[in-house]
Amino acid sequence: MWQSLVGSRSRPVINWVERGAVRKFAEAIGDLNPLYLDEEVAKKSRYRRLIAPPTFPQTFDYGTIEGLRLPESGLIHGEQRFDYVRPLFVGEEIHCYRVFQDMYEKKGSRGRLTFLVFSRVGEDRKGETLFKTRDVIIVTETVLKEWTE
């Protein structure tokens, strides 16, 4: 059901690294680094401006892949990877999209597991990659059955 969609991607969505969103995120993860929050400190830093926490790309909108439907509940987040070219800067514009990269099955102790692999990408205005993710989502046999019935 998903195999035919491997390779498809969403249309890019423009996101901004908003200062208030960075503050809220930093507070939620308990990481009150002045480089995220204090403009005076950030001005004297290597980047001379505020940066965002490493997992902040989690907050962006990456658009939807046309035709791709997933169970609304019961999905397991198995693995996550981020690759960065540099930290993200507060105030910058980032063009984000997602790619459905791969799908495979494995036999687990509680039945067949389906692995869905996505990559989310953030680019600057010129189309240069700023970060890339690899997201592995696991669908158990039980969840899959309930959903397809």
Binding site: A28, I29, P54, T55, T59, S73, Q80, F82, D83
Partner: protein, 140 residues
């Protein structure tokens, strides 16, 4: 924040961080800040329907907390790669400890690239997430 650029030796451990017990409010805050409103993280009935004994923390919150290990060094470099496998669930009331250990270092034209093994464990000593971080200490 550290004032001097960090220099680590293979096998060296980063200062670990132990968090206060996870509260439902922590999860509500992270849901709001991240935009992940999957109800198994905040609403008991949704967790029960998914066969869970209670709401579970977002895996990405645990990952973000592991990222805090490196936050004191962001004045000198940045995380170039951050990879995590989620191996266990985190429930309200759990006490997480995150830590990391230097695996090695490679010199590159941009600076010194350190690799770390990182983990998050609960109060029972069970690993709930583990992974790898590559941290680039930039050359000035």
């Amino acid at each position: 924040m550290t004032t001097k650029a960090p220099v680590w030796k293979a096998g060296e451990e980063l200062p670990s961080i132990t968090l206060p017990p996870v509260t439902r409010l922590d999860l509500i805050k992270y849901a709001g800040a991240s935009g992940d409103f999957n109800p198994i993280h905040t609403i008991d009935e949704a967790a029960a329907r998914a066969g869970l004994p209670g709401v579970i923390a977002h895996g990405m919150l645990t990952m973000a907390v592991m990222g805090r290990l490196f936050s004191p060094y962001f004045g000198h470099g940045f995380i170039q790669r951050f990879q995590t496998r989620f191996t266990g669930m985190v429930f309200v009331g759990d006490v997480l400890t995150v830590g990391g250990r230097v695996q090695g270092v490679e010199a590159s034209d941009r600076g010194d690239l350190y690799s770390f093994d990182v983990f998050a464990r609960n109060q029972k000593g069970e690993t709930v997430a583990s992974g790898r971080v590559e941290f680039l200490v930039c050359r000035d």
